[in-house]
């Protein structure tokens, strides 16, 4: 073991396949190239232990986390840099652009490029909590086996961040790793995708970072020390005072510049002999002045972020494996409890006084301050009075950056007094060992796994008495009453008083039907039955549009508008399917509702047959209405383009209906489709277009019908709510809403097909997105179908 180490931590999520901003290679290739180059530049410098760790989830959902070294070092976690240099995995021939200084001509030159590791993108994203636990244990073992004279360096390369996966909490285990010289130094790098989105490099305050994961990332990395500043300045990077090791939306050049820090640190490693390091741990007062001066020369001042005070007790300095107790630069898990402490500790504690990394209490204070920015008090001035912006926003309880900064300093002082001689008082949780083999007994129970698709028939049916079901809050395990409060508030609002509660809807009776209203869902008389010629091209999939005709109250005009919107969207989608039709998909259209006499109505023959090829869809329509769509013309104006809207039915809304008959018919069509030919490539997509106005037990019964088909069915939902709700596209967790009905529908929706390919490419799509869209266009469906056709293996 060497006296210092560096870890390259590479996330191998699907989004790393995307091309890096302003580059020509993928993010992962760019990162690999930069790391291999950095390893090559370790030649001739004092040796360090090197680890290259990759992580992702495989197709089975199992974690793939471990060393990525190949060749002679396959399976080894730590390899000394001198061994590494001598034994590359392979030598690649690459082309480098070289300028002749005499002629100034740029010419390509073939160069040898050694490669030491293999890494490739996986199909799934592994939660960071697993990764940093693994890393913490790895570093702890290294620190115990080696006699480190520098804290470990960790360069973490992240894929796109998702809200809800707390990276700040994930790095907490690193706080349990401590060497005599301090905690690991963690750099975070996120590679950008879009050239027109500038990089955020080495921020010193979090206030102006984008809200959410990026801002959180600020608290999940270490501050830069003076040698690191120096290394960056030599590479034309000029971080401000207090900057942290974070780059977001970075380019290839930013990776290279960040890794230049490694070379600088390694160069200084030669000046740090073990002796000088041990002396550095002793009491300066006990050393002769000459020795102190020599040590001062040997140990670069402020070499690493934790400004470790040399004042230590002798008994600690003699135990190499016993790590000094200091405040970790990593945040403690939220919420954090401040530890009571006593200043009369027997061991005078060394405190990193100049740490800029706040503890959780500080981050919480900042978060609270930032949150208050949106909940500011109203100015007292009346509109007619003379107005002026709030100059002292802090007085009004709002977060101006200076006040936030002040709160940080105050908290830093507070936490700096926490005694550290007692592990029970550590601000970090007890270290938890993890099983690196990831067997079934692995300790992943306390973190969420990638959940498989929900069963179509839940084992415990949800309450049947109401569509507004109450589900246990997945986070707290308690019944979520937010929706009830919202309902009560709405009930007290006179403007919404005429919307009847769904559970109190009357049975369908003819006398309540508005005068002149006609129940209908009839095929247009001039629909055409297309006799399809054999094209020779097998259909790739079947798209079933299952349209729910129900509205909560036929007497209520806005409910009719909701239905008309649903119907128009369905027609427009049919038009788009037709416009894009290349003979690849079959389309089926099913309406279900409750007729005037209370009987269930299912209409599925409006296309002339159970399903029809997309390229013949327009020809079969009874009515083709021209419409104009507007698109930007690229120079600030609009361009009007003609489009078609296909109508096959005259269709009116009904009262809420049991969806089971509609699903039964959809299943029959799918079985019929499977029976026609065995040359199907992709599973059929059942798109349920609804407002969700039904009892959930009926819905579960209906979903049970899908299990009657042996072949897979991809169940997606397109929801148009009757009550106002923000638009949602393919949410990936339950945090997208407080509406329990929508949440229940989301839990019953299958994952979005091809999401692993669209994640990071299409905004808002993640690796765990489900195919549910609320109050928005479901245009992502076309990208899904195209992507599936391109990516899925041909069978």
């Amino acid at each position: 073991m060497n006296k210092a180490c560096v870890v390259f931590l590479i996330e191998e999520a699907p989004s790393m396949r995307m091309r890096i901003a302003e580059g020509t290679h993928s993010k992962l290739e760019s990162i690999s190239t930069a790391i291999n180059s950095a390893i090559r530049q370790m030649d001739g410098l004092p040796p360090m232990d090197v680890a290259v760790i990759g992580y992702h989830r495989n197709l089975s959902g199992e974690p793939e986390l471990g060393s990525r070294f190949g060749g002679k070092f396959t399976g080894k976690v730590w390899v000394s840099s001198d061994d590494l240099i001598a034994n590359p995995l392979r030598i690649e021939s690459r082309t480098r652009k070289s300028m002749d200084p005499a002629t100034r001509l740029v010419t390509p030159v073939q160069v040898d490029f050694p490669v030491w590791f293999e890494t490739e993108c996986g199909p799934g994203k592994l939660e960071h909590i697993h990764v940093f636990r693994y890393l913490a244990e790895m570093l702890q073992e290294w620190a115990e086996a080696a006699q480190p004279i520098l804290p470990p360096l960790v360069f973490s390369f992240l894929a796109d961040l998702q809200p809800g996966n707390s990276i700040a909490n994930a790095v907490v285990p690193l706080g349990s790793v401590s060497t005599p010289q301090g905690f690991p130094v963690l750099f975070q790098f996120h590679a950008g995708t879009y050239a027109n989105v500038p990089a955020i490099k080495y921020p010193s305050v979090p206030q102006f970072l984008p809200y959410g994961p990026v801002q959180e990332l600020f608290f999940a990395c270490s501050p830069l020390s003076e040698p690191m500043f120096s290394a960056l300045r030599q590479n034309q990077e000029f971080p401000s005072h207090g900057a942290k090791g974070l780059v977001h939306n970075g380019r290839m050049i930013d990776i290279v510049r960040m890794l230049s820090i490694l070379k600088t640190i390694q160069t200084q490693l030669g000046t740090l002999t073990p002796e000088s390091s041990e002396k550095a741990q002793g009491t300066p007062e006990a050393m002769p002045e000459k020795t102190q001066a020599a040590e001062k020369m040997a140990m670069p001042e402020n070499a690493f972020p934790p400004a470790f005070s040399p004042t230590r007790s002798p008994e600690l300095s003699t135990e190499k494996t016993k790590t000094p107790q200091m405040a970790s630069p990593f945040p403690s898990p939220l919420p954090a409890a401040r530890t009571e402490h006593s200043l009369s500790s027997s061991i005078e504690r060394a405190v990193p006084l100049n740490l800029n990394v706040p503890h959780s209490s500080e981050s919480a204070a900042i978060s609270q301050s930032l949150a208050e920015k949106n909940v500011s008090e109203m100015p007292e001035n009346s509109p007619s009075a003379e107005i002026g912006p709030a100059q002292e926003t802090s007085d009004a309880g709002e977060a101006d950056p200076q006040s936030v900064q002040r709160s940080i300093q105050t908290d830093s002082q507070g936490t700096s007094e926490i005694p550290a001689d007692d592990s029970a008082r550590s601000p970090f949780p007890p270290q938890t060992r993890i099983n690196r083999d990831f067997t079934e007994d692995s300790s992943f129970d306390d973190v969420p796994r990638i959940t498989p698709l929900p069963p179509r028939i839940p084992k415990e049916p949800l309450p049947a008495e109401s569509t507004k079901i109450q589900l246990p809050n997945l986070l707290t395990g308690e019944i979520n009453s937010i929706f009830d409060d919202f309902d009560r508030a709405e009930d007290e609002d006179d403007s919404l008083a005429d919307i009847p509660s769904v559970e109190n809807l009357p049975e369908v009776k003819s006398e309540i039907v508005p005068h002149g209203f006609k129940y209908c869902c009839d095929a247009l008389p001039d629909n055409k039955i297309i006799g399809e010629p054999e094209t020779g091209i097998p259909r790739q999939s079947l798209l079933v549009l299952l349209v729910d005709r129900s509205v909560s109250d036929l007497m209520y005009r806005p409910a009719h508008e909701i239905w008309n919107r649903r119907l128009e969207k369905t027609r427009f989608m049919l038009g788009e399917i037709s416009r894009r039709g290349r003979g690849r998909y079959d389309v089926a259209l099913v309406f279900y509702g409750k007729e005037q006499d209370g009987s269930m109505s299912v209409v599925s023959d409006t296309l002339g047959s159970s399903f029809i090829c997309d390229k013949y869809l327009a020809g079969a329509a009874g009515r083709v209405e021209p419409m104009m769509v507007h698109i930007p013309n690229g120079i600030g104006g609009l361009l009007s383009l003609p489009r078609k809207k296909l109508s096959f039915t005259e269709c009116s809304p009904t009262y809420p209906a049991n969806p089971t008959p509609g699903f039964e018919r959809a299943v029959e069509i799918i079985q019929e489709w499977y029976a026609v030919s065995s040359r199907k490539i992709l599973p059929p997509v059942l798109l349920h277009i609804t407002s969700g106005q039904f009892q959930m037990e009926h819905f579960d019964d209906a979903l049970g019908k899908l299990n009657q088909v042996d072949m897979p069915i991809c169940f997606q939902q397109w929801i148009f709510t009757e009550r106002p709700h923000p638009g949602i596209c393919c949410p990936n967790d339950e945090m997208f809403t407080t509406d329990q009905t929508l949440l229940a529908l989301w839990e019953r929706t299958d994952a979005l097909p091809a999401r692993e390919f669209l994640a990071g490419v299409r905004p808002g799509i993640h690796e765990e997105s489900r195919g549910m869209v609320v109050n928005m266009d479901f245009d992502v469906l076309f990208e899904v179908l195209d992507t599936m056709a391109q990516k899925m293996p041909q069978s």
Binding site: F208, P379, T393, P632, G636
Partner: protein
Amino acid sequence: MAYSQEISRHNKACFLFLLDQSYSMEEPLGASQNRKCDELVSALNGWLQNMAIRASGDSGIKDWMDIGVFGYRTDQIGNPIIESALRGPLAGRSIVSISDIGMNPIRIDQRMQVIPDEETGEVFQIPCEVPIWVDPVAEGGTPMCHMFYHAHELLSVWIQEHPFSFPPIVVHITDGESQDGDPIPYARALTNLATNDGNVLLFNCHLSMAANDSFMFPATPNGLPDQLAFNLFEMSSVLPETFYQHAVMEGFPLQPGARGMAFNADMVCLIQFLNMGTQAAPGLR
């Protein structure tokens, strides 16, 4: 009758654009690949070019309107930055005439214009040259109250100089919430300013990152999806009759009492909003 003053060289119109330049404008607009700030300045540069063309006659560009384009954001320590977004020869000037606009673009850029192919019904792109007056900016926070306060100061002066003109039209385009307080009182103070022809009109447009259903010119707050939408509704002026009629003629299904507001706008909505909010003024059609 209010809002009926014909726009002329003697009774100029005034259009004041307030552009959110906070960091969130880096996000893509309406699920497209283009940034909000890029699309915003593209729409605005297109609008300025159209206005300059419309004001052109045999004797050059007629000075029948004044235009101000302001951006607002904060610096790295949170201080509000309120400044004219016009660059080049017009840099630093708060309100300029349309002739100044027409004659002083920063530069001429080459862009790809999308035009329809009449043979196939598809679209294709051809290069064309477009003048640029405003460049995209996206950094810092959203000091909306400061912006309204500054607009109040500017328009107070302008109204004193043009008391009989059609009242100024303020077009505010943002993608998020105010970060320096509640903007509604400031907005109301702004719309309390008036010429003899009516109060200042404030139209608000919210840009969305996702392809959410948009709300154009709502007449009631019922149905708006969240508090931000309610606030924008509160801040927005009711469309005058001429604007209302113009929008109905253009095919917008407006209700009486419709307000000059767009929520969850994409690029198409933004351009329509700019056109609806400005071109219905008397004399501009």
